[in-house]
């Protein structure tokens, strides 16, 4: 009997699925503890009056109702965030694709260039770069100096004008094209050379080669990049928080920063949690829409 049990245990331990679970346990525990549990708590808070310092009091859907009926800033931040994401993400992808095409040709320096162009997406989200950006676009910053050298003397306050401030953030976002570029690069390399050779024989020029071969075969990658970057775009925080703080006139106030302000500056933490859940819904919806359009433009046949 005892032997039997021991053998059973041994058998259990030797099973591949057990090993799998044991080895993935650190991740599972982490995921439950640091993702699922806080998310559950935050959902509860979103239904409460909660100011961090005193215990939450259940308030039903009050926070959600307030958001849609009694908060002008809410719709303003939605507008700003959509504008930012819908402009910066396509620009970034176009830029990434262009640079990837350039770096496709292998020369001795290609490795260096690839690393150099990838660098901004590692450091671009950091506080240091945000501060650097703020200085660059200052009235006495590098940008105005460069314009001065080119003969346009100006002390224009890029960050102080409500039409240009958002663009400094967009440019910063576009500059971080490195990770999309690498993904484009690897899928560009997988496009069979034979296709291009055949096209050349048929007399297609570079231009139509790009639109007839490269682009269609890249659509799955474009789709992947679009979804990932769109999500990132909606969640952008650091740039706005450090560089503009939403100024001027809330023209750069990102949704996430507004959420932070409500939660930790005005101590309306319950309301902040509700804002977070609405953002989750919005991102889910956008991703669903992107997936729904997939069949119309993404090429999925085997190559």
């Amino acid at each position: 009997m005892k032997d039997n049990k021991g053998a059973g245990l041994k058998h259990f331990l030797n099973k591949e699925s057990t090993a799998g679970v044991v080895f993935s346990l650190p991740f599972i525990i982490g995921f439950l503890l640091f993702m699922v549990v806080p998310m559950g708590i935050s959902f509860y808070y979103s239904l409460c009056d909660y100011n961090i310092l005193s215990p939450p009091v259940f308030a039903g859907l009050k926070n959600y109702i307030k958001m849609f009926t009694d908060d002008k800033v809410f719709s303003q931040t939605i507008g700003v965030t959509f504008y930012f994401a819908l402009v910066s993400v396509p620009l970034r992808l176009i830029f990434a694709l262009m640079v990837a095409m350039l770096l496709l040709n292998t020369t001795k320096a290609t490795g260096f260039y690839r690393a150099a162009y990838y660098l901004p997406s590692i450091i671009g989200g950091s506080v240091a770069v945000a501060i650097l950006w703020k200085r660059m676009f200052a009235t006495d910053g590098v940008v105005n100096h460069l314009l001065g050298i080119m003969g346009i003397q100006t002390s224009f306050a890029w960050l102080g004008n409500k039409n240009t401030a958002i663009w400094t953030l967009i440019i910063l976002a576009v500059w971080q094209f490195g990770s999309s570029m690498l993904i484009f690069l690897s899928s560009l390399k997988q496009i069979p050379v034979t296709l291009y050779e055949a096209a050349r024989v048929d007399g297609a020029n570079k231009f139509s080669q790009f639109f007839k071969i490269t682009l269609p075969l890249l659509t799955p990658t474009i789709f992947f990049n679009l979804v990932m970057q769109m999500i990132n775009g909606f969640l952008a925080f650091t740039q706005c928080f450090i560089i503009t703080q939403g100024k001027p006139l809330n023209s750069t106030l990102f949704y996430t920063v507004y959420m932070y302000q409500q939660s930790f500056e005005f101590y309306n933490t319950g309301y902040g949690a509700a804002l977070a859940w609405v953002m989750l819904g919005i991102i889910g919806l956008i991703t669903a829409i992107l997936f729904a359009t997939k069949k119309f433009w993404v090429y999925t046949e085997g190559v």
Partner: protein, 451 residues
């Protein structure tokens, strides 16, 4: 074998991603998930081998950070086995951080407190009542006036000890004004102040910053000049017309060109002494001849000023500055309720309040010391700048001041934010003064009556 290695790698990667996620998410989990909470809990719970570690948090500027840390180090030196870790941030970050650590049951042992937050923190049981320690002599308050003690008293408990006394003060570029023969007198009215702004602009090109995007305290002061108390019970004091003169002052400044271009502030961190347009900027276009601060900040502003710029001090303008003026505790020291060593924390508090050695280092940077013995002792040792502050408090403000308004109620920080936004609209020309007053008054009432 290969499979084993692959599994191992997967596990290692999972562990790595876990570590990454643990450090990055600052959620409300009661473990040490928050990176903000991490340093406080780590420090306050480390109590092995007779070593006591305390943490103290404050907001402030470079001068204060250096002086306070030096005083704490001195205490640690005199009391072997005790180390005190200072955590400092700027005003706006400070309260986010403190609230988060309070929610994580890890409020620092010693906390710098502000008049406007005391009520809230005491109500939620986050501060230690110091009365027992005063009674058993651990904390000596014999040299502190009753009024000053009262300012840190809530519901019969003493929760905070005044860290310095100060008064609202207009800091100005004395060198610039003297060179151009412009006179400044104490107790300027709003109209006299605006005349000075015009003169300065015409003669030197320097502009004026009237507490842009940071005017909560100034509005409070300004309204006192009209006998209006800013915050009522779940509503704003006065009527919408009472607020009109405040916004008209900005409108006039924008129209006449002497008010600083609000675009300048997009490049600065507002409220930071080092980036105040009075001392920071590339030329008269982007600089101001004055700044709205408290008297204890003169030292820091003077230090941040470029060489050869002497900073003067006078009262904030209002319709009747003698009515508006008040003395306040610039800030308090409190003991956090989650401390494991309240006794030790109180001893440090006593050291900061009553020790001449400590105050020889601090030199009244937080305001005139609460202890009369210390402030007398310190006077001759102080720099000219600090003595100027004491002169200002004793000779200018004290003879003509009235009690400060009650602590700000819940919702005040949201109202201040609304004020900033309305002021911004006004300065960018989107609102006129009447619209601004209306938007502010209605919006603020709306916020207050929901609290």
């Amino acid at each position: 074998m290969k499979k084993r290695i692959a599994l191992l790698m997967a596990a290692a990667m999972a562990a790595a991603s876990l570590a990454g996620c643990g450090g990055g998410t600052s959620t409300t989990a009661d473990t040490t998930a928050g990176s903000a909470a991490e340093d406080t809990t780590a420090a306050s719970s480390g109590n092995a081998g007779g070593d006591t570690k305390l943490t103290m948090s404050w907001w402030g500027n470079q001068v204060r950070n250096e002086k306070t840390q030096a005083a704490l180090d001195l205490y640690a030196e005199q009391n072997p086995g005790i180390t005190i870790e200072g955590q400092f941030s700027e005003w706006s970050d400070y309260w986010n951080k403190l609230a988060t650590s309070a929610a994580g049951q890890a409020i620092p042992d010693l906390v710098q407190m502000d008049y406007s937050f005391i009520d809230q923190y005491v109500k939620n049981g986050l501060l230690v009542d110091l009365k027992p320690y005063i009674e058993d002599g651990t904390l000596d308050v014999s040299n502190i006036s009753e009024n000053t003690i009262a300012s840190g008293t809530v519901n019969d408990g003493v929760y905070a000890i005044c860290a310095g006394i100060n008064a609202p003060s207009l800091l100005y570029n004395k060198t610039l004004l003297e060179e151009n023969g412009i006179q400044i007198k104490d107790y300027m009215t709003t109209d006299e102040f605006m005349d000075v702004c015009r003169q300065v602009y015409e003669k030197t090109g320097y502009k004026t910053n009237i507490a842009y995007y940071n005017a909560g305290a100034y509005l409070d002061y300004f309204m006192r000049g009209y006998d209006v108390v800013l915050y009522g019970d779940k509503k704003m004091g006065g009527t919408v017309n009472d607020y009109l003169p405040f916004f008209q002052m900005y409108e006039t400044g924008i129209k006449e060109g002497w008010f600083i271009d609000p675009g300048v502030f997009a490049e600065l961190s507002i409220g930071s002494v080092e980036q105040e347009p009075l001392v920071y900027g590339s030329g008269p276009e982007t600089m101001s001849w004055c700044a709205f601060y408290n008297s204890n900040q003169l030292t820091a502003i003077q230090k941040a000023a470029p060489e050869g710029m002497e900073i003067g001090i006078t009262t904030w303008p209002s319709a009747d500055p003698k009515k508006s003026g008040y003395l306040k505790s610039s800030m308090f020291f409190s003991v956090g309720a989650h401390t494991k060593n309240p006794e030790e924390a109180v001893k440090v508090l006593n050291f900061l309040t009553n020790s001449s050695e400590a105050n020889n280092i601090l030199l009244g940077e937080r305001g005139v010391p609460a202890s009369s013995v210390i402030s007398e002792e310190l006077a001759p040792k102080m720099s000219d700048v600090d003595q100027e502050v004491i002169r200002y408090i004793n000779e200018v403000v004290t003879p003509n001041c009235s009690p400060i308004n009650p602590p700000q109620p819940d919702g005040a920080s949201e109202v201040s934010n609304l004020l900033n936004q309305v002021q911004e609209q006004l300065c960018y020309g989107a609102y006129d003064a009447a619209t601004a007053a209306e938007e502010f008054f209605n919006g603020a009432n709306n916020i207050m009556n929901k609290k």
